[in-house]
Subunit: 386 residues, 2 copies
């Protein structure tokens, strides 16, 4: 480590090479690096002097030694390579990936390095981040909710993590930017690749205050398996994940599964059961895997530490009566708003003994719920049926 | 008991009197009846020779001895009084009310008798019934879902229980009738009272195959506290309750609370978080009190006995690949649909060792996922991004 909390150039070059040589998540290679350090591990991989488990992961590309070129390319795109030896490495959020890797879970495996573009430090962004994900083919409802949540979470000082895809992802990022907040996009391709093409401007704006992040070296094109592998990083970099909309087979359900497996808070936004894009959220809610969230406040409460950030229950109306078999409600219901009634008639109608009726009526008068008229007692104020 | 499983006329007269004399739920009076039987209990109430707890419940109306008149009135309306001494009394469903009463829960207290109109036997209807409740001010979405659920549950042979109110209740009853099924309306007024006025025709149709039920004697007008008291009967007469739509302060939330307190299955239909009429459902889902249901099948599964009526999981596509880091998916993603590629190029692109690529490509050819062309291997069939 250098004095500024940044890694040696030798380490960075070694990790740049290793990041290209194996397709993530490369658990066996990661274990070798932990054992020998990145520089020695890179030397052995180049020579092919590695255990069979690592051989399988590296044989196809071990001659692809493009570390210097890749570092130059990311620098040209205004980015850098962040390695575990750097201070800004999100070591704590990634602990869950290492644990999941040891448990041989699908979502396991720390990245070997992160290619990033942006002004912010990665570890700092991940400290108080919430992922907002969902269908690319989002409905108007899904896009509206994603934008509202992105805006509200950013306004509350949280970092909005998502995958920069069309639909929910894009709306969440844009909502955060509109609030002047910070957002983090995790890509399934190189950080210099404009994908999706329509989000080129969005991907240019995010690094101004936030970060665009990928474990894939510059120039890597997106592929289906890379989206699935990427999704575990979205889950790991956030305290919790909100699924805004998801179809039955949406990739967001994969992010949801990783969220749960990594021990993060999984949330889902209820939507109409008649909408195909809410089917996935319905399933997550029905199974109990996700907690329902209807507002930014509920998201903050769900990811917040117990006792912190608790949503206030809606205030009870001062005019509300107590229990359904409460005498007060029965006597009040027995009053007519128009027709004056005697305490005796009210007692029979309500079934409440006459002496209690005689005690309650003046109380109602004082609280503004009843009035004494020439023809008897009348009801004042509104009352609900049912 | 008479030979036909029906109670003596003396018992029926006593319960008719007791049903008018105390406002339900009258737990102390119920306990006195359990102790002395209805005939002796009625005699004591008339004389005022009862414990203070019963005195409080009966003093205001003990002179209202209209049993014969009430039985005549209900008969004129085509109905009858069902008492616990009758075979058709839903004794088993009401056990939970007795238990809740002993625990002094709000929703406790068996009815002393039930005034009913309709062809069906009460106990038989309650055997396989599901309650569908919700806002009177339902949205188009809520009315649509209520009607669909009412129809689907009735078509599945279940009885639809509700409260005959405007909005969700009415739509659920109508849906059941449209399916040629049976439905049970529990009223907060006399069974001869047309309330709400706009549902007069609906309340006339329900008894043709189902039942209109109330614990209030003929002519009783609806009152707010009676809706709350009535709601516990809706919950008790069903295996579970579905809340279709509920505002923050909807009466349906009271039925929901009774459902949980009585140990029945509580279900809620997810709805847009932007809709005021779905706020109550969102709260029930978020708190974990209710399980989310998106279809009639899920309702049937939720109330069904464990192992029975289980919803089949949606079938997985035959074209789906396995795990995200599976080599097969990586090799398939490395193929281009247009451009022929060599096994070597595919190995580098996918990071999968060349010998595995050479083994997988012919497998893809057989399964129809890839084809050999003059320029190399190409992808066949669709693939998804993300």
């Amino acid at each position: 480590m250098s004095a500024e909390g940044a890694a040696d150039e030798e380490v960075r070059l070694a990790r740049a090479y290793l990041s290209r040589v194996a397709e993530p998540p490369a658990l066996a290679l990661g274990a070798l690096i932990d054992l020998l350090g990145p520089v020695e591990a890179a030397r052995r991989v180049r020579r092919g002097d590695v255990p069979v488990s690592v051989q399988v992961q590296t044989a196809a590309r071990c001659a692809e030694d493009r570390a210097e070129e890749d570092l130059r390319r990311v620098a040209e795109a205004g980015g850098r390579l962040v390695v575990p030896e750097d201070e800004e490495w999100p070591a704590w959020p990634f602990t869950a990936l290492a644990v999941a890797g040891r448990q041989r879970l699908r979502c396991g495996g720390e990245p070997l390095a992160l290619w990033v573009r942006g002004a912010a430090a990665c570890a700092e962004l991940a400290e108080r981040a919430v992922a907002v994900v969902g269908s690319r083919a989002a409905s108007g409802y899904g896009q509206h909710v994603a934008a509202e949540f992105g805006h509200g979470l950013a306004a509350a000082g949280l970092v909005v993590v998502s995958g920069a895809a069309h639909g929910v992802d894009g709306a969440a990022h844009r909502g955060a930017l509109a609030a002047g907040g910070r957002t983090l996009a995790v890509l399934a391709c190189g950080v210099d690749v404009a994908y999706p093409a329509g989000h080129q401007a969005l991907l240019a704006r995010i690094p101004e205050r936030g970060l665009v992040v990928s474990e894939y070296p510059p120039g890597t094109s997106p592929a289906r398996h890379r989206f699935l592998t990427r999704n575990r990083l979205i889950a790991a970099l956030a305290l919790g994940t909100v699924v805004v909309e998801a179809g039955r087979r949406s990739g967001a359900k994969n992010t949801a599964a990783s969220t749960t497996a990594l021990g993060r808070v999984l949330m889902a936004v209820p939507g109409p059961i008649t909408s195909a894009t809410s089917v996935g959220c319905g399933e997550l809610l029905r199974s109990g895997e996700a907690v329902a969230v209807s507002s930014v406040e509920e998201v903050v409460e769900s990811v917040g530490r117990i006792g912190d950030d608790l949503v206030e229950p809606p205030p009870r109306s001062a005019r509300e009566f107590g229990s359904p078999d409460g005498e007060a409600m029965r006597v009040h219901d027995a009053l007519s708003p128009a027709l004056g009634r005697s305490p005796q008639a009210i007692s029979v109608e309500s079934g409440v003994p006459l002496d209690r009726v005689r005690a309650l009526l003046p109380e109602f008068e004082l609280s503004g719920h009843a009035a004494r008229t020439e023809t008897g007692w009348v009801r004042v104020g509104t009352t609900g049926r049912r």
